[in-house]
């Protein structure tokens, strides 16, 4: 074990530079979040992941955000075990009818203010499963969504760009509010 730990010190980190926020995500957020909501978005967000019927590919890529290359923690973003600790719900899947109630209950258990990020093409509009008897067809049909990150599945970089846009949008409006003459939140 000592050898492995020692090597990690000598080799330096694998972590890659921060990608720029996704422009499209910034634009979507500017529309979905009103001024007050934006100001409440801090630099640090707790995320609760909810699989609402995904094929698990999105989960694999969300998992990857925690690996040494992407290291989500450095952006003040971290995954938490309960919706009661969360600011953000990261929802995947076309929302199967069998998961609809569980998603609604998870949303209700998340304290305000809260934001929902829908991950993947299925979460956007049901994707390839949209026409099934067993799916509702997209997260926004069940709970309000602030941001969609598309892809099948979205790569960890795409996820990172979207999530950085989310914190960025918050910190931008926070900085605005600090300018002389700006009204407080």
């Amino acid at each position: 074990m000592r050898r492995t730990l020692f090597e990690s010190i000598v080799h330096g980190p694998l972590t890659e530079p921060r990608p720029d926020p996704d422009e499209q995500s910034l634009a979507e957020l500017a529309q979905t979040l009103d001024g007050a909501a934006r100001k409440r978005l801090g630099r640090s967000l707790s995320i609760r992941e909810v699989d609402a019927g995904s094929c698990n590919a999105c989960e694999l890529e969300i998992h990857a955000l925690n690996n040494a290359f992407y290291d989500l923690d450095r952006f003040g973003l971290r995954f938490v075990a309960s919706p009661r600790h969360a600011d953000v719900l990261l929802v995947t899947g076309p929302v199967t009818k069998n998961m609809e109630e569980a998603l609604l209950r998870t949303y209700a258990a998340t304290p305000d203010p809260k934001w929902v990020v829908a991950v993947g093409n299925c979460a956007f509009d049901g994707g390839i499963f949209a026409d099934s008897y067993a799916v509702t067809g997209g997260v926004s049909k069940v709970v309000p969504v602030s941001l969609h990150i598309r892809g099948c599945p979205p790569s960890p970089t795409a996820l990172l760009k979207g999530l950085i846009a989310l914190v960025e949008q918050g910190s931008r409006s926070w900085n605005e509010s600090l300018k002389p003459g700006a009204r407080g939140a």
Binding site: T4, L14, H63, C152, P153, S155
Partner: protein, 505 residues
């Protein structure tokens, strides 16, 4: 020896079903098959509905024989398989939910995938409108002193798929675990009906995202068998290459996650790096990190350039440099071994009875690997071992994965060495003017994936059944956790790593 051949000798053989025979049988032969399953002479490979018929895929392992038998249900009923052979119970409950066909004599007639939320009953059979308010579900009763229940899920604490676990515990010891699944049922088999080949193979590739290569491969092979076409040699090698890369990526993810659940995150961090390197090499070589939509009926999409072949060789070299140190770390960390050795024991007898595939079966002594039997090119000319152990605990399931990583590295070397030149796909004309049927069994990282397919005269999917290896592994998790402490459940669960989506369809 040829028990299966004898069983199907008298039945009417379906004309266009390949490569295994499919035979229409009467209730007497069906029941005889059930008795052979119960006696352990045959292994259940699949059981599914199809209009008013039920099909059962069977394997006689010693003779490497496979066959599908079909029973036309009289008045919508068929003799229960699960009554005598427990591995069939959940498959039967699913047939009842989706088709409305009744298993005669079944003990457990609770719904399984149908939670009463769809607004219809029997969506793939004679569908009838129904209330969508949700059904009550009667968990099995547990009686005894000082028992308490712990309900978990469907939304879990980690970044994992949803399912409900109902623990009954006495203090810390688990007395019974009962699973309730079906939360991610997307109706994939319903969407398959009437789909063209292109749409259908996309759906198949999204049955369980971690096994997208295995599913796409199984679907492609079933379609090719049905249509009587052969993919080019280079495509066979590239498919195997993708399948081994998928196995590597998932095994690294699993080994790291199992150790992490034993509070040893160093392994998760190190294995996470290896997993990411595999996915990046896959993206560079094939254009998608998980290699989704790369395998098509008739061949593969795209080709592997010589530079990318070198890149994959370098990847194998890098893994060979790093992985042995991690194996040593796993083997020499007493606190980690303390958690994994002896935990979550699955008996070889149960693994055999359930026909458990993948590391779950192989860690409990079941030497079945669909790459060997029924086999598919190029594995017949490649040199590799099937690693098994008999100790059946979490540790054994980790070690089987470690050995499979080593075998996959060797396979990738051999594939890159022998990669033949030539085209990577042949044109596919699905409209044949007659109904055609094909079946395929493919070894995914988790175990054997079964795809059964019937194409209509126009080349559209009339019925496609996809059976994830998890169907025969989930019930065994209930057995493996018995007597363990509640706190070891995540460890046991991760060591099984069953698919929710693949199971729920």
């Amino acid at each position: 020896m040829f028990i299966l051949r004898a069983l199907i000798a008298d039945g009417a053989r379906a004309k266009a079903h390949h490569p295994w025979p499919r035979v229409a049988v009467d209730a007497k032969t069906w029941t005889a098959a059930v008795e052979s399953l119960a006696a352990g002479d045959l292994t259940l490979v699949g059981l599914w509905g199809d209009g008013g018929d039920v099909h059962m895929a069977l394997c006689n392992e010693p003779a490497s024989e496979f066959a599908v038998i079909t029973l036309a249900c009289l008045d919508g009923r068929f003799p229960s398989v699960g009554r005598a052979h427990p591995p069939a119970i959940r498959l039967e409950r699913t047939i009842r939910d989706l088709f409305g066909l009744e298993p005669d004599g079944a003990d457990d007639i609770r719904t399984w995938l149908d939670h009463g939320r769809w607004g219809i009953r029997h969506p793939l059979g004679a569908a009838v409108p129904a209330d969508s308010g949700g059904d009550a579900y009667a968990f099995l009763p547990n009686e005894g002193e000082s028992l308490h229940q712990i309900p978990v899920g469907p939304v879990h604490a980690g970044i994992i798929e949803p399912g409900h676990f109902r623990f009954t515990a006495n203090g810390e010891a688990v007395v019974r675990l009962e699973e309730r699944l079906g939360y991610v049922h997307k109706g994939i088999e319903g969407l398959m009906e009437g789909a063209g080949l292109d749409q259908a193979r996309r759906l198949a590739g999204r049955t369980s995202g971690d096994s997208t290569v295995a599913y796409a491969l199984a679907f492609a092979r079933a379609a090719e068998s049905a249509l009587g076409i052969k993919a080019p040699a280079r495509a066979y090698y590239l498919r195997a290459l993708m399948a081994e890369l998928e196995r590597l990526a998932n095994h690294f993810g699993d080994i790291g996650a199992i150790c992490n659940d034993a509070t040893f995150p160093l392994m998760l961090a190190q294995c996470g790096i290896l997993r990411e390197r595999v996915l990046r090499a896959a993206e560079a070589s094939f254009g998608h990190r998980l290699m989704m939509d790369r395998i098509l009926p008739g061949g593969v999409a795209g080709d592997l350039s010589p530079e990318h072949a070198l890149l994959l060789s370098a990847l194998v070299g890098e893994i060979r440099r790093v992985f042995p140190k991690l194996v040593e770390l796993y083997d020499n960390t007493a606190s980690l071994q303390d958690r994994t050795v002896g935990t979550g024991f699955l008996s070889p007898a149960l693994a055999r009875q359930f026909g458990a595939g993948g590391f779950v079966g192989r860690a409990s002594g079941r030497r079945f690997d669909a790459r060997k039997v029924p086999g598919c090119p190029p594995y017949d000319v490649l040199d590799f071992d099937v690693a098994t152990r008999d100790d059946g605990d979490v540790n054994a399931r980790v070690w089987v994965r470690i050995r499979e990583v080593e075998q996959s590295l060797s396979l990738i070397d051999q594939i890159l060495d022998r990669l033949p030149d030539g085209p990577t796909a042949v044109p596919v004309e699905p409209a044949t003017g007659e109904a055609r049927e094909g079946v395929a069994l493919v070894e995914g990282f988790r175990g054997d994936v079964l795809v059964w397919l019937r194409l209509d005269a126009d080349g559209r999917v009339a019925r496609c059944h996809l059976r994830d290896p998890s169907w025969f592994q989930w019930p065994l998790l209930e057995a493996a956790i018995e007597g363990n402490i509640v706190a070891d459940f995540p460890l046991c669960n991760k060591s099984f790593n069953c698919s929710y989506s693949g199971h729920d369809l």
